[in-house]
């Protein structure tokens, strides 16, 4: 049986400062070695100053992954020499003195398959090595310490995955979850990295390191499984080893055996006393946790939003946050309109209205807005507010404009941020619901489409074709219900 386990490294990019100093946590966009201080380059005499929020946010991740969180959190030193490691040890966590890392024994379900989380630990990211020079002979190694000390959460799973697809689904869930918690932006380059261990029936466990994106992780797993299977078919023993993922050639390569002699001499980091997490803190953190994606989805479905729409909307943090703002504002609008409900009937009426707003809003967001704002630049540039969307939905629900024209309105709102009234008059989008105007239009259509009229008399379904023609004549502004009724009357 195939067994895959993961070690996922996730930077807490949403923190302001590094794990042990006040330099910027998100080092992106800095000139090399300009986001450094005596602490993160490990100058003699410097000491780590632990970031409180890093502990809190990492704990929240542990909670969201259904982990046990300890009462006391301990840090250890992992000793090894590498030029990206300014102190030549990394401050990290493990559980040699009992469960003292940020979280343990969690689980997360992937399409019915339960994946056990062994441990979650908080640690410092090393710096970055840069190789300059064209050939191997002229190549020199340079170090940029801007990243050194960025808070990193490592999530270690049991080898519970049976295939790369489960891994992919798990990682999708995980990155949505981390984004939803507001702790990390998984889309940033290098914000999420992974090591994997892979074994097939009868073979030893092989570690794969160096995988810098989830996209490559899946590729690496496929490559490694194929490699192992082909060895097995040829009856060649699969040895226990560490292999590196070669980013360029897209293969795994056996790492030199040097790592085997590595002995990390783990011991307690004396500069950081154990951090006590009392039950009050745990409660506070729990209360402050954002609604989980799955409970968001259930809530959306309760509004009557179709499952598929609810699924997409709940897992996209930017849009679900926007949707929530929209709902909150619409709530006020409905209250204004209906008054505060104070009996059963009024509550029912209120809910009905609220659900219509929810359904229509979700519909517009998922079918139109997600396409309009499909990257960060567009989102930043967008002038659309929750109030805008609420006004738009209100206009649709009150038959002031058609769904068809709503697309133009939305686009214009995103681009200009103009209020709906202005856009409607500017583009003359007011829905045509005047009997007299519609009547003349319908007469014209009946005259032009005599064949279709005959057909519609026999087959009531065919009348939709005529409605379409009327819509076309009015550039989509005809009130569809009214048009249908008038047409029916005139034909029969």
């Amino acid at each position: 049986m195939t067994k895959i386990g993961l070690e996922i490294h996730c930077q807490l990019t949403k923190l302001e400062s590094k794990l042990f100093c006040s330099c910027k946590a998100d080092y992106r966009g800095f000139e090399p070695n300009t986001n450094i201080c005596p602490v993160c380059v490990g100058l003699p005499g410097s000491l780590p100053r632990l970031n409180k929020k890093a502990i809190e946010k990492a704990t929240v991740i542990a909670m969201a992954l259904n982990c046990q969180t300890p009462q006391k959190i301990a840090f250890f030193r992992k000793n090894y020499f590498y030029p990206d490691l300014p102190k030549n040890f990394q401050i990290t966590q493990l559980n040699i003195y009992g469960p003292t890392s940020i979280g343990q024994e969690g689980k997360i379900s992937v399409e019915g398959k339960e994946i056990q989380i062994r441990r979650i630990q908080l640690e410092e990211d090393p710096g970055r090595l840069i190789y300059e020079g064209s050939s191997e002979r002229t190549q020199i190694t340079l170090v940029d310490y801007n990243r050194a000390g960025t808070p990193l959460v490592e999530i270690v799973t049991e080898p519970d995955f049976e295939n790369p697809k489960q891994v992919r689904l798990f990682l999708n869930i995980l990155s949505d979850l981390l984004e939803n918690l507001g702790v990390s932006d998984p889309s940033l380059e290098g914000a999420m990295r992974a090591d994997a261990n892979v074994s097939i029936e009868g073979g030893s466990k092989v570690e794969i390191k160096n995988i810098n994106s989830f996209y490559d992780l899946e590729k690496a797993l496929h490559f490694e499984l194929t490699r192992q299977q082909s060895l097995a078919e040829r009856k060649i023993e699969i040895i226990q080893e560490t292999r590196h993922w070669d980013d360029k050639r897209k293969i795994t390569i056996s790492a030199r055996s040097k790592e085997e002699e590595e002995d990390y001499r783990y011991f307690l980091e004396g500069d950081i006393p154990w951090v006590k997490i009392d039950s009050k803190t745990v409660e506070r953190l729990k209360e402050g946790m954002p609604e989980s994606i799955s409970s968001k989805k259930i809530r959306y479905e309760n509004y009557g939003i179709p499952t598929q729409v609810a699924d997409i909307l709940s897992s996209e943090k930017y849009f679900s946050d926007f949707f929530q703002k929209y709902l909150d504002y619409s709530n006020l609008v409905i209250n204004k309109k209906l008054g505060v409900p104070n009996n059963f009937n009024e509550i029912e009426e209120f809910d009905k209205k609220y659900h219509s707003f929810a359904k229509e809003g979700a519909n517009i967001i998922t079918t139109d807005l997600m396409g309009l704002l499909d990257n960060k630049e567009k989102r930043n540039a967008s002038k659309l507010t929750a109030e805008h969307l609420s006004d738009l939905v209100n206009a649709i629900l009150e038959n002031k404009i058609t769904r068809h024209s709503s697309k133009t309105v939305l686009q214009t709102m995103v681009k200009t941020g103009k209020p709906i009234s202005e856009i409607i008059s500017e583009f003359a989008l007011e829905q045509v619901s005047d009997d007299a105007i519609l009547s003349t239009m319908i007469d014209e259509v009946i005259k032009e489409e005599s064949k279709a009229v005959e057909e519609a008399k026999l087959n009531p379904e065919a009348i939709n074709y005529l409605v379409g023609k009327v819509m076309k004549k009015t550039k989509g502004q005809a009130d569809p219900t009214l048009t249908l009724n008038l047409l029916k009357k005139k034909i029969s």
Partner: protein, 89 residues
């Protein structure tokens, strides 16, 4: 317990210290480690460790404060931008 010369040489290598002609250290390190055998007699196997603790509130608030000086200038630097390391092969 006398620790073998080879083992000490091995550890020196792991600690990234060339011993070469420093073999005079080995005898002395052996004596020092041998003295630690006295710990076996302390009878503290079941002892629980006492470890310093601090409340969460003691920790640093998450605030970005750029370091004022251009620190790279004060390190050994390469083109005022990088720290240079030897080849990694």
């Amino acid at each position: 317990m006398l620790v073998s010369k080879e083992e000490i040489e091995h550890v020196a290598k792991l600690m990234r210290i060339d011993l070469d002609d420093h073999t005079v250290h080995i005898d002395r390190v052996q004596k020092m480690i041998e003295y630690f055998d006295i710990l076996d007699k302390a009878g503290t196997e079941s002892e629980e460790l006492i470890i310093n603790e601090q409340p969460l509130e003691n920790l640093r608030e998450d605030k970005y404060e750029p370091y004022g000086d251009k620190l790279i200038d004060k390190l050994k630097h390469y083109k005022e931008k990088f720290v240079r390391a030897p080849k990694m092969v």
